[in-house]
Assembly symmetry: C2
Homo-oligomer: 208 residues x 2
DNA sequence: AGTGATTTTGACTCTGGCGTCAACATCACA
DNA sequence: TGTGATGTTGACGCCAGAGTCAAAATCACT
């Protein structure tokens, strides 16, 4: 059995698919594009995935895993809830329109309204993000830094919604809506919702 | 000249296209679907529009016009800024996943990242919505009902972002995220951001 | 080196949808 | 009622791209 070979190739194809998807867009995406991006023949793609639908489900899974994985590690590493919150803001918003993961994720969102599998994954992503925010808020309350008027779950839901929308704006309006503005808006909002003025200040590392 | 005939048919085709788009999704949308929805032959669609791209641009225009048009009238008709704000919340969030206009709009968003024309229209839509909210906030300040800590433009931008994200959730997660929850979250947020507790109460008509 | 299992290749077939077009229908106006 | 302009039809040609497959390549193990 040469299982590892197959797995490695599969991972390579998913990576290539993320790039191809981000580049061509889901409407124009061809098997050919993925093969090209991976530097293999089209037959190879068909060998590893039943059809395009099958592949897109795998790509969606991969994208969701990558997106939440990075953030969870980041947040866990920081002790102060204010730092955690700022880290969430930084990692939740794409730097610019070239963010492959975010582009792919939003293109895949088109399928969410048609295919139950994709709906499940998209919902999972949103839920995980809300849970992550809610947990940080709870920690912040315990640490005495946050004292929100609304329920933690509500504040968290709003924060994630803002992230999602800003992600779309940044990847869609290329340059006319910047990551910097998105982060400012989010900090201003969270500072108010959590009653923690420090979040609005520009000091990222080590809040005074 | 039978200009009116042509225009009427064109409008009918745009209407049909909105339905077809919402039903099939942009990935699977065929000229055939639009023709069927309009009850005409495929040749008729080709006669009125150069190609699918051309048609989708027209559909996008139509969708944007409809979306903002309804809201502007609604807001202008109400004198009290708090009522205006509540009306904005109500009309900015789709009732459920069956909202054709919103479904079409989000599907068209996929093209925003590829085609400049669509980018322009999508940006225009967002800008108009932000302007609308900002104007209402200004009126509210003048009336003495709102006293936001942040700039009007920022509060407006956040409100529109929330609307957009919630619209996606409602149309995507069908039933698991309701319009009622979206409106509650928006009211809670605006009540705090505008320092106007009345917005959070359930009284829609005639705030006490 | 031989053997069989696994993986890769790219030429091929086939489906399905776009856009064309010639014929037909409908209308305005004389 | 005739005439030309405008609008409609659906069969057809064409081709892009999905998926198939037989042959070749690569690997693990002996």
């Amino acid at each position: 059995m040469r299982r590892s070979d197959g797995d490695a190739r599969r991972a390579q194809l998913l990576e290539a698919a993320l790039h191809a998807l981000s580049e061509r867009g889901i409407v124009d995406l061809r098997i050919r594009d993925i093969a090209d991006a991976a530097g293999v023949a089209t037959g190879t793609v068909h060998y590893h995935f039943k059809d395009l639908d099958d592949l897109l489900v795998a790509v969606h899974e991969e994208a969701v895993d990558r997106f939440v994985g990075a953030r969870q590690e980041m947040v866990a590493a920081l002790p102060d809830a204010r730092d955690k919150a700022l880290a969430l803001i930084d990692t939740g918003v794409p730097e610019d329109a070239s963010d492959i993961l975010v582009n792919a994720l939003y293109d895949l969102n088109t399928l969410v309204r048609r295919r139950a599998v994709h709906r499940t994954m998209s919902r999972a992503l949103t839920d995980q993000q809300v849970t992550l925010y809610a947990a940080v808020i709870e920690v912040g309350i315990a640490q005495g830094h946050f004292s929100p008027a609304a329920a933690s779950a509500d504040v968290a839901a709003n924060a994630v919604a803002l992230e999602d929308a800003f992600g779309i704006y940044i990847t869609s309006f290329g340059g006319r809506f910047t990551a910097a503005r998105a982060r400012t808006l989010m900090r201003v909002h969270l500072a108010e919702a959590l009653r923690c003025p420090g979040l609005a200040s520009d000091l990222k590392e080590d809040i005074a």
